[in-house]
Structures are given as C-alpha cells and as structure tokens.
C-alpha cells in the first residue's frame, strides 16, 4: 500500500464456487507514494481488480490478485490536464463577496480589472488531476478566468 496508502476496494461482484470465492471490483486511491518507479503524483487513481480466495476450514489458504496494472500506469503517467482552481481571490470583488454585498461570481459582475485580481491557486487534487504548478499571486485575465473553474468566494 505504499503507492496508494488510502486505497479502498469496492467489490461489485462476489462469485463463489466450491471452496473458492472471487471478488471483482475497483480499487481507488491517491498516488501518494512511489509506485513502480513513479514518484507520487497525488492523483486520484482507480483500477479494475480481481481477487480470488481459496478457503479451507474457515480461513483463506491461498489467494490470487489480478489488477489492471497498465491502466494504473497510464493514469500515473498521463499529462497533467488539470483545470486550475482558484482557492481565493484577493481584490475588491472578493472583498465585496465576503461582506455580502457582492456577487458570488467574483469576476463578471464586478468587472474588476484583471490586474487587480490576485489569485491563489493551490496544489489541489481535482478529479484525479494535480494542479501543477501552483500559481500564487498570479493575475488572471477574464479570458483565462472564463476557461478556469473559479471557486466561490469564501
């Protein structure tokens, strides 16, 4: 579990015959440790897996573990295509939001000059992607903003 220390298996099918039980499902976890020579990416990954248990006298005596290694490797290696998520906006717009007088949409209604917006983009895991690199204090143009998922003002 070094690579995915929080891995959880969700079994979707239990199939049993004789003294064997098969479990087919999906393992989901966060790539927080080295795995097969790949340094931690902090991505959420999932892969198909199957376990087969042989039992005797109420105990598991033998087991087989088969999983989609290729699929897991593809997820760990894939290019980062994360959408940037703005953790907070520093500027008159967001100040208004915080005071309750502004819109929850921190850009369009307020029409704050982009040079006045400082965004704090964190190193977040978003739908399996990592925001990389973190951009703190970066000005964001409206065009960039429209293509970026913008978090709500706190």
């Amino acid at each position: 579990m070094a690579g995915l220390p929080d891995a959880v298996t969700t079994v979707e099918d239990w199939i049993a015959e004789g003294n064997k039980v098969a479990a087919r499902g999906v393992v989901t976890g966060t790539h927080l440790g080295d795995f097969a020579g790949i340094a931690a990416t902090r991505r959420r990954v999932s892969y198909n897996a199957m376990r087969i248990f042989a039992l005797d006298g109420g105990k598991v005596t033998e087991g087989w573990f088969v999983f989609d290694l290729d699929g897991l490797m593809r997820q760990a290696h894939r290019p980062c295509s994360a959408r940037r998520v703005i953790l907070s906006l520093e500027g008159p717009c967001c100040s208004s939001c915080r005071s309750g007088s502004g819109s929850k949409d921190p850009l369009t209604p307020c029409a704050v000059p982009s040079s006045d917006l400082k965004v704090d983009i964190g190193d977040l895991i978003v739908e399996g992607d990592v925001v990389d690199p973190p951009l703190v204090g970066t000005a964001l143009t409206p065009k960039e903003a429209s293509a970026t998922r913008i978090g709500s003002c706190p």
């Binding site: 995915l4 959880v8 039980v21 976890g29 248990f53 105990k59 598991v60 033998e62 999983f67």
Partner: protein, 52 residues
Amino acid sequence: MSIEENKEIARQVVDAVNRGTLDALDNLVAADMSSTSRFRGKGRAWQAFRTP
C-alpha cells in the same frame, strides 16, 4: 464451510483491508497462506491483500 460462509469470510477480508485493520486478518487467513499477484509474483499471506 458452505459457499455462503466462505463468501462472508472473503467479505471480511476485504473489509479489513479497506479499514487498514490488518490484525483482523489473523483470524481469517491461514498462517501458511500463499498468494500470487501479477505485480509481486508469488509470495506469502499479506501480499495477497496489499494493493499497489
């Protein structure tokens, strides 16, 4: 043991692994259990339950 009883034991194994309570596996797994995985090859008991 019946098929249903075996399935229940297998469920308990998966639950224990998900919770990270590997000590609970002591009562569910034979001491000389062997396991085989594509990633690790053939090995002893705990390796069967460890995910990558």
